[in-house]
């Protein structure tokens, strides 16, 4: 009987002790953010969604070889006489396969990098078509996706871009 009550009181005091930690923490400023309205900006060097610049790219295939999931594809551009030039006709990254590992960015020989990570961590897709981002001359760095149903390029609407935190480009 005495043991029973001492156990009950022991547990009770332990809860009080634990609660004291809770109360101490309660008085400290809050560390959570209200996500969709408040957004944290990642540190520089964050490996977010990839951006690509068709003007800088010299179509050297280094990134294609460096990619561990083989999710980059590109095609050389040709000039009027049918000779290959150091530009891409189109370039695409399958974000459904991408590991966000930065091997492509590291292997890219151009300055500034033709393919690089943005700070965009809100990469979401509604359909599988949206996962394959495509770039061509004249497209912006975010790229467009090919909609197989309507057969045209579309802006990636599933992606909520953190518009102010891109490193190389302001929207």
């Amino acid at each position: 009987m005495i043991q029973y009550f001492s156990e009950v009181f022991g547990a009770f005091f332990a809860i009080l002790k634990g609660m004291s930690v809770t109360f101490k923490t309660m008085l400290k400023p809050s560390i959570t953010v209200q996500y969709p309205t408040e957004k944290l900006v990642p540190f520089s060097g964050f490996r977010g969604a990839l951006l690509f610049d068709a003007e800088t790219c010299i179509s050297c295939n280094q990134c294609v070889k460096a990619c561990p999931s083989y999710c980059i594809q590109l095609e050389n551009a040709v000039n009027e006489t049918g000779k290959k030039v150091a530009k891409v006709a189109w370039y695409s990254i399958d974000f459904g396969k991408c590991n966000f590992c930065r091997l492509c960015e590291e292997s890219c020989p151009t300055k500034p990098k033709a393919v690089w990570h943005s700070k965009d961590y809100e990469l979401t897709f509604f359909r599988r078509d949206e996962m394959v981002r495509c770039w061509k001359k004249g497209f912006d760095f975010v790229g467009l996706y090919w909609d197989r149903a309507t057969k045209d390029f579309r802006k990636p609407e599933g992606q909520v871009q953190i518009q102010t935190t891109q490193e190389r480009f302001q929207y």
């Binding site: 930690v21 540190f43 930065r102």
Partner: protein, 374 residues
């Protein structure tokens, strides 16, 4: 009775219960087929493979640089240790040296990752035992470690930071100060954890004396890491076969006594103390210098041969066996996954335990299903 978890033949007073594969306390997709008699478990068969991605096979088609990325995906809660393990094995094949600064950075990252991983264990084990507050505290601190990783390599879970012959890039200037700040913040928190959870009588009642593993059984089943040390076996790859310069660090290996759930839990909490010590020493040793060694080609092709390397991961003895036939991809890669081997003892341990203790035991083993299934 067959060993298959599905449809065992039951006696009339027995009941077959599926624990998982979506049970929250399994921390992933693990199914345990439990046969119970009243409240007592008479047979337990863990059923794994729900997360099998065939990464060992995949590595045979990928270059050595690519394999580092793959290694992130085994034990995703302590990916730095996986990176290190693979890189050490590949470096052994390639016979390249790692610069001093990179060594210390590697050690600091791995220990920080150990802290993050043990914090996650601490939090989720608390939840399994019905203590929710500890989880929130643990995740607050874990967030800080992940911020440190985000600062240094840009990712929060799959780092790909440790590379062949070095690390991905140097840490920014503010990193060291921020890391020290975190360690100072973290030390008193560990004391709070003891108040919150470790010596709480309710928690003690649920974990003390539950699921004890004897020294002999622990060795027989090939346990490693905190699970082994909780049973009182002094084995730590960082001490017995130091790698990455661990022999120059001064730290203790916490040992338990009875090998019950509480011992396994407290072993990890004390390992966090030791990790803090190691990180502090690593930061003190950090001198400016190169972070990437020479001699690693863009597509490395090591001479034919084999290498086995094991490191002390957050969950135990993490080993990598690599065979090279001179091509750009490994001929064979095999991973000694500590979670997988630690999980095996479950089928013996759970027998005779009460149904309510199953969760405590499963939680205390601390498995990561990504590593179990690979």
């Amino acid at each position: 009775m067959s060993n298959s978890p599905a449809a065992p033949e039951l006696k009339s007073d027995q009941l077959f219960v599926n624990l998982g594969p979506q049970h929250p306390s399994t921390h992933g997709v693990l199914r345990v087929g439990l046969t119970i008699e009243g409240e007592i478990v008479v047979k337990a068969v863990p059923d794994i493979g729900y997360l099998h991605r065939g990464t060992e096979k995949l590595a045979e088609l990928r270059g050595y640089h690519h394999c580092v990325v793959i290694s992130d995906r085994w034990d995703y809660l302590s990916a730095m240790n996986n990176n290190l393990m693979f890189c050490l094995a590949a470096e052994k094949l390639l016979k390249v040296e790692v610069p001093e600064r990179a060594q210390h950075l590697r050690v600091a990252m791995c220990e920080l990752n150990r802290i993050a991983s043990h914090l996650l264990f601490f939090g989720t084990f608390g939840i399994d035992m019905g203590a929710f507050t500890a989880f929130l505290h643990a995740f607050r601190e874990r967030e800080m470690v992940l911020d440190l990783f985000e600062m240094s390599c840009g990712a929060r879970l799959t780092y790909n930071y440790i590379r062949l012959a070095g690390v991905m890039k140097d840490v920014p200037d503010a990193w060291v100060a921020r890391c020290r700040e975190f360690l100072e913040f973290f030390k008193p928190r560990l004391k709070e954890y003891d108040e919150l959870l470790s010596f709480n009588p309710i928690f003690l009642d649920r974990t003390k004396g539950v699921g004890a593993i004897s020294k002999a059984a622990a060795v027989d089943w090939g346990l490693s890491g905190p699970n082994l040390r909780a049973s009182g076996v002094d084995y730590d790859a960082r001490k017995s076969e130091p790698y990455s310069g661990y022999e120059k660090y001064d730290f203790d290996v916490p040992l338990g006594g009875d090998g019950d759930c509480w011992d396994r839990y407290y072993c990890r909490v004390r390992e966090m103390h030791e990790s803090i010590k190691i990180v502090e020493q690593a930061l003190a040793k950090l001198q400016p210098g190169p972070i990437l060694g020479k001699g690693v080609a863009k597509v490395p092709k090591p001479v034919p041969g084999e290498a086995y390397v094991h490191v002390e991961g957050a969950r135990g003895d993490l080993g990598c066996y690599l065979v090279s036939d001179g091509n750009m991809a490994p001929y064979r890669m095999h991973i000694r996954a500590p979670s997988f081997i630690n999980l095996a003892i479950l089928q013996e341990m759970l027998v005779g335990e009460r149904m309510s203790d199953v969760i405590a035991i499963l939680g205390s083993i601390d498995i990561v299903l990504g590593e179990v299934d690979r």
